[in-house]
Amino acid sequence: MAVAYLVLVGLPMLGLLGILEAGRNISAALAIGGDWNLEFAADPQCASGSATLRQPALSISQSGREAQITLNDGHATTLPAILNGNVVSAKLLTATVTGKPESRTIEGRISLAGCAPVAFRAVRASPQKRGE
């Protein structure tokens, strides 16, 4: 019984330690999930007045390299996005992700409905929270 315990419990525990050690060298996609406030470099030039984005302007739900960006524009416009390295690409948005997870920013250009593309900088509105 002692041998069985050693083989079936002890060895796998050692294996787990090895797995945790091996995993330290694996890198995952940059974390962009959560709510983001947008700052525009200039007022978006829109056909009918100004753009109607409320803060937090972006809500991002992320699973690995794939993400879903929801605009807080009153219609909850949803954009599937893909993360390649530090570049986020979606239908209306292209941006670069910089910084460590806790002080991360997203900078790029966004095309809001009826507006000319405009440069933006996004900072986290709240700590990363993906369960909503």
């Binding site: 079936l8 419990v9 797995i19 995952a28 996609a29 974390a31 690995g64 997870p101």
Partner: protein, 420 residues
């Protein structure tokens, strides 16, 4: 102000779906609770949101889900108290090496395989906001959990509670539950400490102090409830309210310490006096409102966060199949092998493995915690929910295949003869 009309409409729709699907599942010899879990998934984006997005958006607008979540969380707090209440540590005594080996292997094997799978899934379904060790340990603990309440219900329905295999399964599931929740508490502390920037030793020492206080101080006063029950064969409403307040205080303590509400609720239930009739009385007092009203809300809330097969393409189906195979191999295979090495016949060992593989709603509880603290992504959450459904659904038919009713009846008759 909550939109009460919306909330009441949601509750009515959820209860109706839970009852109907639960009834249909009973018709195919599945426990009703599995049907209720499936009903929750059907109300979410995996089915209703997919075939009738307009109806789904009207019934479950995102801004209304906070109230539904709050109600389901209250239900879960009471449910975890009930799970702790039903757990009797004396069940662990007297099973010797077989229980120790089987229960430990049934945790370690799926845990290690979960960690191994994390090596493959971490770069694909996670991000650098979560450390590999947090992700791997969570995967391991989510793979190794057993649904103690569902397992007990299946054993009871099949008259196996007093068989050797049944008692061993209950003992192993109890060990699994306690170990699984301890590991999960550690992971939650690990992740939350990283997020909050609070030193780990503060949370760790606070948690240890809390557990010791509960076991060595609070538990001493709890037999007073049992004595009050003995006097009148019931508890007054005031005393039931005191139990609820103690339960909520314990839940708040663990939440404040940075673990999770549910751990406090579980521990409060676990340290309650375990005299069978007193436990039965309390279970009866709490269970009906949880089972009929609050758990279906939790299942629905889980379903609304689950997107089975929505987006991700064929890769997601491959990841799902991988997780399901790994979960079954680790839990069913590990428990079966350990039971066999402990001297149980192959048939009993296989049945034990099948029972231990039941993950049920305990898995959903853990997965929701994982999603809330951000240690798993929405896609990983959906994959693991699918795994929980498959492993729970397969239990009854597999058990019937391994232990046909005629063999079962013979064993039950023998148990009755021995008891007589």
């Amino acid at each position: 102000m909550p939109n009460l009309f919306h909330l009441v409409l949601q509750i009515a729709a959820i209860l109706m779906a839970a009852r109907v699907v639960g009834f249909l599942f009973q018709k195919i010899n599945q426990p009703q609770v599995i049907g209720e879990m499936v009903a929750g998934i059907l109300l979410g984006p995996s089915l209703l949101g997919w075939v009738a997005p307009g109806v789904s958006a009207a019934l479950f607008p995102p801004q209304s889900l906070g109230y539904l979540n709050a109600l389901s969380q209250i239900g879960l707090v009471v449910f975890m108290f009930v799970v702790g209440l039903a757990l009797d540590p004396t069940e662990l005594k007297g099973y010797g090496h077989a229980a120790v080996l089987t229960s430990h292997v049934s945790i370690v094997a799926p845990f290690c395989l979960g960690g191994l799978t994390a090596l493959y899934l971490y770069p694909r379904l996670s991000d650098d906001g979560v450390t590999f060790s947090g992700f791997a340990l969570f995967m391991g603990s989510a793979m190794s959990i057993t649904a103690f309440p569902v397992l007990a219900r299946i054993l009871s329905e099949r008259g196996l509670v007093r068989s050797r295999m049944g008692t061993l399964a209950i003992a192993c599931a109890a060990v699994d539950d306690i170990t699984g929740w301890c590991i999960l508490a550690y992971i939650v502390v690990l992740v939350r400490v990283t997020q909050a920037g609070r030193p780990a030793w503060v949370t760790m020492s606070g948690s240890l102090l809390y557990v010791l206080t509960m076991i060595f101080v609070v538990r001493r006063f709890l037999p007073a409830f049992e004595r009050a029950y003995r006097k009148r064969d019931r508890l007054s409403d005031n005393l039931v309210a005191v139990i609820v307040i103690l339960l909520l205080a314990s839940a708040l303590a663990t939440e404040w310490l940075g673990i999770h509400l549910l751990f406090g609720a579980f521990l409060m239930g676990a340290i309650m006096p375990k005299t069978p009739d007193f436990t039965r009385y309390l279970l009866h007092k709490f269970e009906s409102v949880i089972v009929v009203l609050l758990l279906p809300l939790f299942f629905a809330f889980t379903g609304l966060r689950t997107r089975i097969g929505v987006g991700g393409g064929s890769a997601v189906w491959f990841y799902s199949a991988l997780v399901i195979v790994v979960a079954i191999t680790g839990k069913l295979g590990g428990s079966m092998l350990a039971a066999r090495l402990s001297g149980m016949p192959w048939r009993d060992s296989a049945a034990l493995g099948v029972l231990m593989n039941t993950r049920g709603l305990m898995e959903l509880v853990i997965l929701n915690i994982g999603l809330d603290i951000g240690v798993i992504s929405p896609a990983m959450f959906s994959i693991m929910v699918l795994m929980a459904l498959v492993t729970t659904f397969m239990t009854t038919p597999l058990l019937e295949w391994i232990y046909p009713s005629r063999l079962l009846q013979a064993q039950v008759n023998e148990i009755h003869k021995n008891v007589a």
